[in-house]
């Protein structure tokens, strides 16, 4: 178990190193650079800027400097927000994205498991057809549409009630988090519902369910203890990466609901070619994703007694 974990962690470190290197090369191959702005600057000012940011050095040199700083956990200063350290940006804004993301996954997981189980129970009957129709919608409609619709509905509700009961945008209270996290979780909820449904249908024909029935266990006990617990495994597998994906992919929702999350920095840094923020956020998110995948693998061993890690 320990050896397995260590092996996975080591592979994870290599993956993160690879992500960092690939991003570094890709980023520097894009035409333009972070110092380029609307108004052109003289060669002297340009040289001053390059010196300040270490861009006067050669590519390999910059790479080595970046790597050694990264190992010490320092991603440098942002180019667009010249007074802020990338570490501070991550520290200030990741908790926001994480809160939003976890709440979204929470909604998605509950929704996905409940709807999935329901569709399996009512297979090919009306509830199944309705839910599966909604699932297709949830998977195919992009989140910015849901975000815009969600916000518009809030405006309409507030207009009807004559006062703003639920905040339309912003961040701070649970009221602010509710709609954005629901919107953010919809896609995942749809995905999990479908997964749960097929998984439940697979399990229902297994021998151990028949045995349980033959033993005369109550249907409720069979459902929770044998069917659900076994069916939930594949859901658990995708949940780890989904947490990472949702936490990192909230850009649109963060924009529409004016939420100060890290997703905005992640996307805007690319548009601005803000080298240090691109590297910082990519490496951070990459490491986060890798960590979640490893974590799920390890948790798997606890949930499923058949899996004994070697």
């Amino acid at each position: 178990m320990l050896a397995y974990t260590l092996k996975r962690l080591l592979a994870g470190v290599v993956t993160v190193w690879f992500i960092a290197t690939a991003t570094f090369i890709a980023m520097h191959s894009v035409p333009g650079d972070p110092l380029m702005n609307d108004k052109a600057v003289t060669a002297e000012i340009r040289a001053n800027l390059e010196k300040k940011y270490g861009l006067d050095k050669s590519g390999p040199e910059q790479y080595l400097i970046f790597m050694s700083n990264m190992l010490r956990g320092d991603f440098g200063i942002s180019f667009t927000q010249q007074n802020r350290k990338v570490n501070d940006i991550i520290r200030d804004h990741f908790p926001v994205s994480a809160t939003l993301g976890l709440l979204a996954v929470f909604f998605a997981a509950i929704g996905g498991i409940v709807w999935g189980a329901l569709t399996a129970i009512y297979r090919n009957r009306l509830p199944d057809i309705i839910i599966m129709f909604l699932v297709i919608l949830g998977i195919s409609v992009p989140s910015f549409v849901f975000a815009a619709l969600g916000q518009l509905s809030l405006v309409k509700i507030n207009q009807l009630l004559g006062s703003s009961v639920i905040p339309v945008a912003g961040w701070g209270t649970f009221g602010h988090m509710l709609v954005p996290s629901l919107v953010l979780g919809l896609g995942t909820m749809a995905l999990l519902t479908r997964l749960m449904r097929s998984s439940m249908l697979e399990v229902v024909n297994e021998d151990y369910i028949k045995t349980a029935k033959a033993k005369g266990l109550s249907p409720i006990r069979i459902f929770f203890k044998h069917q659900l617990r076994n069916a939930i495994l594949p859901v658990l597998t995708v949940l780890g990466p989904q947490i990472a994906a949702i936490t990192t992919g909230g850009f649109v929702v963060e924009l529409v609901f004016a939420i100060p999350g890290l997703g905005r920095y992640f996307v805007q840094a690319v548009q601005q070619l803000d080298y240090t923020v691109i590297m910082g956020t990519t490496v951070f998110y990459g490491a986060f994703l890798v960590f979640m995948v490893i974590l799920v693998d390890i948790i798997y061993g606890f949930v499923d007694p058949r899996v004994r890690l070697q």
Partner: protein, 539 residues
């Protein structure tokens, strides 16, 4: 299931308090009793160190919390700021600072605060992108290039309240320059105590303007309250300006406006229609920026051919462009590099020096085109590369141009859509035939536009090079006589049309919503816009 969700709840409970530090949102966007307004910013201000700021959001905030030697009134005329009196002649300037100007910690604003800020902006290590704007001061350019020490800057602190400046060359608009952000003061002891973090947070700044910033949660909110030490505090009516939302999304801002959460939002082509159906009162304003097509004059480019450029000039109709393509109120058809608001000798420049309006004349255009083909020695003009930005409107504009060129002149246009930085990179390296470009003014003088196509100007990315143009720019920059300067610019305007250096497309207008109870908001072409400094809320 219990096992599965328990960790989620635990983590949620752990994270919630961490992110719970975000400020509470006020109840109404314009509160009469407390004289408080709430706004949404389009982005987080990237740089609140006035010596280094370059963008509009930072300028908006800095314009409310800082004040330069001079300032602009509601009509855009220069008025006293920290300086109550000033004298400018061809060799230099003297400013007499008011004795009651104070920093937000109560200490007086002195002449040294300006000297210090200007020296710091010029230091090579500061790497300020706007340092060039100080170059009219003697030795400034050499200091910025590291050739002279910072204390050689020809600015003298005569006493705490008198400052003299010596010019490198005569300059006809120094009063307009000192109202600009880069010329704002900074206090030596405070700046040095903060070091690299100067401007990073509300506590890392000192203010001398009508407001002071009390709270800044990055990417979330920014609060400003009336500065009780401001010398003209009795004429400041608002007690607080709360920027409680930061989002680029114009639809989100419209929703916030409709929900009564913010007092102002700018509209775009899409949200304009929604605002109309919501029966909102839509206002418009010309931003002072001019948009045009710039040609590539580098060797080997077909666009160096004047007849080809003239042909294009006679088929492009700015009127149609504004009405059919932009199709939102407020934009003016482009006729000149110089927008209508610029001042001339007595009146507006454009009413004193009319811009020629090239006729839309297909026969004439084809005539020019034939001449161009002969000169270039081609049967058909090769496809022209049109470089544009990646906003939805840029694509629409480019497609319109593509249609016009094909239909009227049988010239194929290849549209090259690029993101912000890539477009700049291609502009700088000269990888285009035509580029959709624009220019916004830095200060309220004709030279903020006039020197754009001077051969030495780095923003002249098409490398237009005309000694006559350069000569006129020098007159405009160094002459102290308004008539001589404006005559030179009038001639320059004629050259721009005659030589078809650019194709002016439009003068940008914005449409916006403003809370009807908020009065006295000033829209500006230069400086903080919108300017809420003298605003008040009526019942």
């Amino acid at each position: 299931m219990r096992r599965l969700f328990f960790p989620f709840l635990t983590v949620l409970c752990l994270i919630a308090p961490v992110s719970g530090g975000f400020a509470q949102i006020s109840a109404s966007s314009a509160d009469f009793d407390t004289q408080t307004i709430t706004l949404a910013l389009t982005q987080e201000p990237p740089q609140l160190n006035s010596m280094k700021a370059t963008d509009q959001v930072s300028a908006l905030i800095l314009g409310h919390v800082m004040e330069g030697l001079l300032s602009y009134d509601r009509r855009g005329k220069i008025i006293p700021g920290v300086a109550e009196k000033w004298e400018i002649n061809s060799t230099g300037a003297t400013f007499w600072l008011r004795k009651d100007a104070r920093w937000s910690d109560g200490k007086p604003v002195t002449a040294d605060d300006f000297l210090f800020a200007w020296q710091t902006a010029l230091k090579p290590e500061t790497a300020s992108e706007y340092s060039f704007i100080l170059y009219s001061i003697e030795n400034a350019e050499d200091i910025n290039k590291g050739k002279k020490p910072t204390d050689s800057l020809a600015v003298t602190v005569v006493d705490d309240h008198t400052l003299t400046v010596k010019f490198e060359t005569p300059i006809g608009y120094f009063d307009k320059l000192v109202a600009f952000t880069t010329f704002f003061p900074a206090r030596r002891d405070f700046f040095e105590a903060r070091g690299d973090s100067y401007g990073a947070d509300a506590k890392d700044l000192l203010f001398n303007g009508p407001f002071r910033m009390t709270d800044w949660v990055h990417s979330a909110s920014l609060k400003m309250v009336k500065n009780e030490h401001y010398w003209d505090r009795d004429n400041i009516h608002l007690n607080a300006i709360n920027a409680d939302y930061i989002t680029e999304d114009s639809r989100a801002r419209l929703n916030l406006y409709i929900d009564g959460k913010i007092v102002h939002t700018r509209l775009d082509g899409e949200t304009y229609k929604d605002a109309l159906t919501q029966r909102q009162r839509i206002r418009s304003f010309t931003t002072g920026s001019v948009f045009y097509l710039e040609y590539n004059f580098r060797k080997g480019r077909v666009t160096t051919n004047r007849n080809l450029r003239k042909a294009i000039q006679h088929v492009f109709d700015p009127e149609e462009f504004v009405n059919k393509v932009l199709a939102t109120p407020g934009n003016l058809p482009g006729r000149s590099l110089f927008p209508v608001w610029l001042g001339g000798v007595e009146d507006k420049f454009r009413s004193e020096y009319k811009a020629a309006e090239p006729k839309i004349d297909l026969a004439l255009a084809r005539d020019y085109l034939e001449k161009a083909k002969v000169e270039l020695g081609v049967e058909k003009i090769p496809p022209l590369v049109l470089l544009v930005g990646n906003s939805p409107t840029s694509a629409k504009q480019a497609e319109y141009l593509q249609g016009v060129f094909k239909e009227k002149l049988d010239i194929d246009v290849k549209i090259d859509i690029q993101t912000f930085k890539q477009r700049l990179a291609k502009m700088t390296s000269g990888d285009f035939d035509m580029v959709a470009a624009g220019w916004g003014p830095d200060f309220d003088d004709i030279m903020t536009f006039g020197d754009l196509f001077a051969s030495w100007n780095l923003n002249n990315r098409g490398r237009y090079n005309n000694p006559d143009y350069d000569r006129l720019v020098r007159i405009g920059m160094t002459s102290a006589d308004p008539k001589t300067r404006m005559d030179a610019m009038g001639e320059l305007q004629r050259i721009l049309t005659e030589d078809a250096v650019i194709i002016p497309q439009y003068e940008q207008g914005v449409i916006y919503l403003m809370h009807p109870k908020v009065k006295g908001v000033v829209r500006r072409v230069v400086g903080a816009d919108p300017d809420f400094r003298r605003a008040r809320i009526v019942k």
